[in-house]
């Protein structure tokens, strides 16, 4: 182990999700060949895909939502018919109330259901807990059965957590998290966004994490979840047939975020005119509704009737009126724009190396991005091969998600229920797939090192300690987590803890487990 525990720590924590406990031998393997350990996953591009029994495609899930919404509506109408004089009928107990549906916009908007849930289905709830003086708890009252949306969301979360807990190093899963946050949607947008959140990542992000940026960009912007999240399914070309008929027009939301957040970055050289142009270019990018007039319900379609006719000028280049191809050509050019290369390289290095990314490393990644036409595997390989990534001290603070996954890995606990992770992430301010805005969760230590956040982490660590600490040897875990890369202070603090639960809490909160 004397070999290079410090490099092993970098391999596992900077690039991965931390060492697994039990018999994994992660730290030893990483110490013997740190770079090779990290890069092994890059050689297995299929390993990024996530398939699990029961995980369905976006159209299937969309159809499930439509069916669910129909069912709620019917139940409500039936109740209304049965008791016409009563106050508004309640939906069946196992269903959320149907929210107002806006049928007036256009064919696409018809299918979208409500635009914003009042409350995410997995928002924190006050748990039932036993009163101190009560008798031992009888079986808890049966919780309301989950609806198809909640069930799907939890199944998707669980599959992701299990993958992250089980993978060797975790570099590819970290890349998934990075790109998923870069191209984020929010499950809080509505029922469709919630049911699609996992599928979006599986279908639009994962296949391209070790592929080409341009392919990921196209997959993302044509995914129904993104079109729903950023309202493009409502956007009509002012001069399109639908726009003329309905006297409605552009919605610039997606077009703006494509340039500001997905490709060029703020200050990347675009104007309001470019935003409007791109918005026109991608009018008609939508998904088929419940009636299926445009295609398979819940699948991406190009609705020519909503598309703004005519050529458009974007960033000084004219894109001829080629329908769907017009937008695809524009995205392809945005993907290889120099500002995009710079923006992506900077974010990438900031995520993995330091809040203030070393300029030389950013420049190198930018050059690789440009030279390889956005080969993301080449960019990741360059990062792992760089000296900077191994020299920079481990100053990044793990995000709440990283922290919880790393803790689960170290404890060798493969989650079988996502509830505790979801609750903890809500508490720590990183609700899964529900960032506060389209710019995703912050990626700097300052954002996560807020006093209340650290205190809450400690509370969660203490609870993990209370729950599991009696059954583990905290010094064994320290060996798995850091071995002789652990500081003498950390080792002493754990050795001198007054109990195993306390020792485990302190280990989970140690700089070796918090920094990456």
């Amino acid at each position: 182990m004397a070999r290079d525990s410090q490099a092993a720590l970098i391999a596992l924590n900077r690039f991965g999700f931390g060492a697994r406990g039990g018999a994994s031998g992660d730290l030893i393997n990483a110490a013997s060949d740190p770079r090779g350990f990290v890069k092994a996953e890059l050689a297995r591009p299929n390993g990024v895909l996530l398939e699990a029994p029961g995980l369905q495609s976006t159209p299937q899930l969309g159809q499930a939502v439509f069916a669910y919404q129909d069912q709620v509506k019917q139940a409500r109408e039936a109740a209304k018919a049965a008791a016409p004089a009563e106050t508004p009928a309640q939906p069946p107990a196992d269903q959320k109330p149907a929210l107002r549906r806006n049928l007036s916009l256009n064919a696409a908007a018809e299918i979208t259901g409500q635009m914003a849930d009042a409350k995410p289905a997995d928002a924190p709830v006050r748990p039932e807990t036993m009163q101190p003086n009560a008798a031992p708890p009888a079986a808890k009252p049966a919780p309301q059965p989950l609806n198809v949306i909640q069930k799907t969301f939890r199944a998707e979360v669980l599959a992701r957590l299990q993958r992250a807990t089980l993978v060797d190093c975790g570099l590819t899963e970290r890349l998934v998290v990075f790109w998923s946050n870069h191209f984020c949607i929010s499950a809080s947008k509505g029922e469709l966004a919630r049911i699609w959140a996992g599928a979006f990542e599986r279908e639009a992000i994962r296949p391209h994490v070790l592929g080409r940026f341009a392919d990921m960009l196209r997959a993302v912007e044509q995914h129904p979840a993104m079109l729903f999240f950023l309202d493009n399914q409502q956007s009509l070309g002012p001069d399109s047939r639908a726009g003329q008929n309905r006297k409605r027009g552009l919605n610039e939301n997606l077009a703006r975020e494509i340039m500001e957040l997905h490709t060029l970055g703020v200050g990347g050289g675009y104007t309001q005119g470019d935003v409007t142009s791109l918005a026109r270019i991608i009018t008609g990018w939508t998904f088929a509704g419940r009636q299926g007039q445009l295609g398979v319900p819940g699948s991406f379609v190009f609705n020519v009737n909503a598309h703004q006719p005519g050529p458009q000028v974007l960033l000084g280049k004219t894109y001829e009126a080629t329908g769907l191809a017009q937008g695809e050509a524009a995205l392809a050019d945005l993907a290889r724009h120099p500002s995009t290369a710079n923006f992506i390289a900077t974010k990438f290095v900031r995520h993995f190396v330091a809040d203030d990314p070393p300029p030389a490393l950013v420049a190198r990644l930018r050059d690789v991005f440009v030279r390889t036409d956005g080969d993301l595997k080449a960019m990741a390989t360059t990062l792992v091969d760089s000296d900077e990534a191994w020299r920079a001290p481990l100053t990044k603070l793990r995000s709440p998600y990283d922290f919880l996954v790393a803790s689960g890995r170290l404890l060798a606990r493969v989650p079988d229920d996502p509830g505790v992770y979801l609750n903890s992430l809500n508490l720590l301010g990183q609700p899964l797939w529900s960032p506060p805005g389209p710019n995703g969760f912050p990626d700097t230590s300052a954002a996560w090192a807020a006093p209340e956040g650290i205190k809450l982490r400690l509370d969660i660590a203490a609870q993990i300690g209370a729950r599991l600490g009696n059954n583990i040897d905290p010094l064994d875990l320290l060996e798995f987590a850091a071995a002789d890369a652990a500081s003498i202070e950390t080792r002493r603090t754990i050795e001198r803890a007054e109990s195993r639960p306390q020792a485990l809490a302190l280990l989970l909160m140690s700089p070796e487990m918090q920094r990456r």
Binding site: K140, K455, D459, A462, N470, E498, A503
Partner: protein, 405 residues
């Protein structure tokens, strides 16, 4: 992984706990009330994790070396907070008036200079030995209390197993069925854990040290508590756990045996004398004993509460007005079934030559002999079962006779 996190949501701006109860778990006994005398015995085992300073809990005021060794935190028989004299030699910490009252009524006893067979100074190993009942450390999957349960005659289960609480202490783990219960407010990160982490961060990660310190402050402000009030919560927490446990055990079909643990006794710095950190904790323990007494009602007369810790602390205080890991300490017995009103001790003395390794109170009583005596008198377990099953390889450790009325 973290099932108890949900409970956290109840009190996301909770106040801090100085110490606290970590759990209470019960074993449901076969029903076997002693028909002859109508007794229906109950046993509660309270484990104090962190190593209790026995010399501050029951101070050998009559020992000429005590005051010098315990220095600034030594108890005295006079002054503003006088210790409570139990006899002409030993005095009880003034934070424990309830125990003193029960002692005067003849239903509480102290065993002093007691220790498990463990002689090193690791909390983890020490707690393992204390709870497993084995002579040395090592990973075992059952505790002596569970094995004692298994040895009892089987009868009709008085209640079926229910939801298991956050964790079962090793002492009660094993083949015999147990159920658990935990109060609503599970212990969050307590002050002691937080302070240890702040200390670690201070050395290794100043940015996190600042963030955590501020977070702790925020938490206190939000709770509207000053330090005194948060310490008061630790006391309230211990009482709350005891109250709930007593209520369950008082029921005719309730559990007859319970084990629970209180944390926070690792007083390396600023331990305090008649007032201060240890005093608050002892006050909490005292309150818990009073809750057991009142909550068990008529059953109190058949009850023995055993209070034990993994080891004691140094006889001489250290440079930070605290004490470091030591060896012998006290065990406490309380309950209507205890033949008490006495301090049981073969006092080794505190002269340097008499201290274990020149630093700790020397053990003269094996804790196992005390527990064996209680188990034998309460539940009629045989010498052989006690020496082979409950405390393996302990034939040489004879049960103390006459601990129970």
């Amino acid at each position: 992984m973290i099932d108890c996190v949900e409970n956290r949501l109840l009190t996301s701006r909770r106040s801090l706990l100085l110490g606290g109860a970590s759990f209470a778990a019960w074993a449901y006994l076969p029903k076997f009330a002693h028909a002859a005398d109508g007794r229906d015995p109950r046993l509660i085992v309270v484990i104090l994790r962190g190593a209790l300073d026995g010399l501050s809990t029951v101070a050998p005021i009559g020992d000429p070396d005590y005051a010098g060794l315990h220095g600034s935190i030594a108890l005295t028989a006079d002054g503003p907070h006088p210790a409570i004299m139990l006899d002409s030699f030993f005095a009880l910490h003034p934070a424990m008036p309830e125990f003193a009252r029960i002692y005067r009524d003849g239903h509480a006893a102290v065993i002093h200079a007691v220790a498990t067979p463990y002689r090193d100074r690791s909390h983890f190993d020490g707690q393992d030995v204390l709870e497993s009942g084995y002579a040395g450390p090592g990973r075992v999957q059952s505790g002596w209390l569970n094995r004692a349960l298994e040895a009892l005659p089987r009868g009709e289960r008085v209640s079926s197993g229910l939801a298991v609480g956050p964790t079962t202490p090793l002492v009660l783990r094993g083949n015999a069925p147990t159920v658990g219960w935990a109060p609503v407010a599970l212990p969050q990160a307590d002050d002691d854990t937080a302070m240890r982490l702040v200390e670690l961060y201070r050395h290794r990660d100043p940015a996190l040290a600042m963030a955590l310190s501020q977070g702790l402050q925020l938490d206190k402000l939000a709770a509207g508590d000053d330090m005194k009030a948060t310490r008061g919560n630790a006391v309230a927490q211990m009482r709350q756990v005891a109250r709930g446990a007593a209520k369950l055990m008082a029921a005719d079909d309730g559990p007859r045996i319970a084990a629970l643990a209180f944390d926070g006794w690792d007083t390396h710095a600023n331990e305090g004398g008649p007032v201060g950190r240890l005093a608050f904790l002892l006050g909490g323990l005292d309150g818990a004993l009073a809750e057991f007494e009142s909550g068990l009602g008529n059953r109190w007369r058949d009850t023995v509460v055993v209070v034990a810790t993994e080891f004691g602390r140094t006889a001489r205080i250290n440079g930070t007005d605290g004490t470091d890991h030591g060896t012998a300490t006290v065990a406490l017995l309380a309950g209507g079934a205890v033949k008490g009103g006495r301090v049981i001790s073969d006092w080794p003395g505190l002269k340097l030559a008499n201290l274990y390794e020149g630093r700790d109170l020397k053990p003269t009583t094996d804790l196992r002999s005390v527990i064996k005596g209680v188990l034998q008198d309460q539940f009629g377990l045989s010498d052989r079962v006690l020496a082979e099953t409950v405390f393996p390889d302990s034939a040489a450790v004879k049960p103390v006779k006459g601990l129970v009325v």
